[in-house]
């Protein structure tokens, strides 16, 4: 199955400038599997969305099919995805410079 991943502007340099990329995964799948494939296809994107412990960075939001995986019924990186699912990686509204 294919999952469409929306790439934020500041990470498009790591996927040839694409606004969205399609990732091929086995069904059923999870966000973790999608990120694994995304890492293989376009190295540099996932490494910036996740820290070196594999956790989503504090000021990054990920939405699956319109819902944040940090809240509600979603389950973080174990959030299930189906054929046609869409993933958004977004900088959080918490932006700016905390130390400024």
């Amino acid at each position: 199955m294919q999952v469409l991943v929306h790439i934020p502007g500041s990470l498009r340099q790591y996927c040839g400038g694409a606004r969205q990329v399609r990732v091929e995964c086995e069904a059923p799948s999870t966000l973790a599997c999608v990120f694994e494939r995304l890492h293989a296809d376009h190295p540099g994107v996932v490494e910036r969305a996740l820290d070196e412990q594999g956790k989503i960075r504090q000021h990054v939001n990920v939405f699956v099919d319109g819902e944040s995986i940090r809240a509600g019924p979603k389950r973080g990186l174990e959030t299930p995805l189906g054929a046609g699912s869409e993933v958004w990686i977004l900088p959080a509204v918490s932006g700016g410079q905390a130390a400024a």
Partner: protein, 361 residues
């Protein structure tokens, strides 16, 4: 405003890297929301290395071999702890190219406090496990700026000798290239401890350490309250804080050539962190801390509520020395004569975190 022929100033700020070139032009070679808390010029390769930190996407070291026109950005962030450390890097606080006899070695100090080493000129890094595994490390505490390894001193006489400083852990030294470390804080005060525990083995909030250019066993130290000199490469420390309006401050700069000569910028007390009496004064010692003189010519002496952070003050390598400091309020001051007089050379910058002088001649 032009500063000096053959000197390119590198200015790391909360909102990008700025440069001031010899013609006086301000450029902004790293922008787009990244902060640059650390920057270095590697004269061995004429390479700028910058600790580029995104509020969102993490941190890494990027390199430019054409003085900032183009940058090599690693495919994946090149500062990462191994997965088993259960820690992630917030930012790089210090970048230190090693000496000429280790032409590809670069050290980086990060938050949370750890030391990284590159053997390929700053493209890839590995954590120095000897320091991470030190039994003191789990008890180090963050200062106001975070738990950071902010100072790396190399020793031209022996590349295996490394000195680092951590807030809040204090000074640590290695004689074996980083395999083993020992704390080295004898004589340094910790005012924030109970009265009978103010000289601990470690845990001091050391702000900056600088090495004397002429006598490499002599070090100068700005503490979180207290100025110190060591004459034995950090084994023990002597208080040299008499003669300044406040012994609280962040930077410590050694003259690039003259023995016993160092500079500080007192920063009020631990509560009011601005220049004492709202007067901006650099203090210079020319006798190893025996006495200090205020340098005020060209610096604001009224209503100057200025903070200069630990790495926002530096020197070039010329003689007389060029000295440069940036403020949290975005000004950049320069002296071309060992600090005798100063000039405002840039203003309206974002808060300045680090200034370094690249000697291009």
């Amino acid at each position: 405003m032009p500063v000096r022929p053959d000197v390119l100033l590198l200015i790391g700020t909360t909102k990008g890297l700025f440069t001031l070139d010899p013609s006086g032009e301000v450029q902004n070679p790293i922008a787009n929301g990244a902060s640059v808390p650390s920057v270095a010029f590697d004269p061995r390769k004429r390479r700028i290395l910058a600790g580029k930190t995104s509020f969102f996407w993490g941190t890494g070291v990027v390199c430019s071999d054409d003085l900032g026109k183009t940058w090599v950005e690693p495919e994946a962030p090149n500062l990462q702890f191994p997965a088993e450390f259960d820690a992630s890097i917030k930012q790089a606080w210090q970048i230190a190219p090693a000496s000429a006899n280790e032409p590809d070695v670069v050290y980086v100090g990060v938050e949370p406090a750890a030391l990284f080493r590159s053997n390929d000129g700053g493209q890839t890094f590995e954590v120095v496990r000897g320091l991470w595994d030190h039994p003191h490390r789990p008890t180090w505490q963050p200062g106001g700026g975070g738990l950071c390894l902010h100072t790396i001193l190399l020793d031209e006489r022996d590349p295996r000798k490394l000195t680092v400083a951590i807030s809040t852990g204090g000074v640590y030294r290695s004689d074996d290239g980083g395999a083993s470390w020992r704390s080295s804080n004898s004589g340094i005060r910790a005012d924030f401890m109970p009265e009978d525990q103010r000289y601990p083995e470690y845990g001091q909030c050391v702000h900056k350490v600088a090495r004397d250019a002429a006598n490499p066993d002599t070090l100068f130290l700005q503490n979180h309250g207290g100025l110190y000199r060591s004459d034995n490469n950090g084994a023990s420390w002597t208080d040299i804080g008499d003669g300044v309006p406040s012994d609280f401050g962040f930077p410590m700069v050694a003259h690039p050539h003259k023995a016993g000569t160092a500079y500080v910028i007192p920063n009020g007390d631990a509560m009011n962190r601005w220049t004492p009496e709202a007067r901006c004064r650099v203090y210079r010692t020319s006798n190893g801390g025996g006495s200090w003189e205020a340098l005020t010519s060209g610096l604001p002496q009224k209503d100057a509520y200025i903070t200069v952070l630990r790495d926002a003050f530096t020197s070039d390598q010329q003689n007389p020395a060029g000295l440069y400091f940036g403020t949290r309020s975005g000004e950049l001051y320069a002296s071309r004569n060992d600090g005798d007089s100063w000039e405002l050379v840039a203003e309206h910058l974002p808060p300045v975190l680090m200034v370094r002088a690249a000697n291009l001649g």
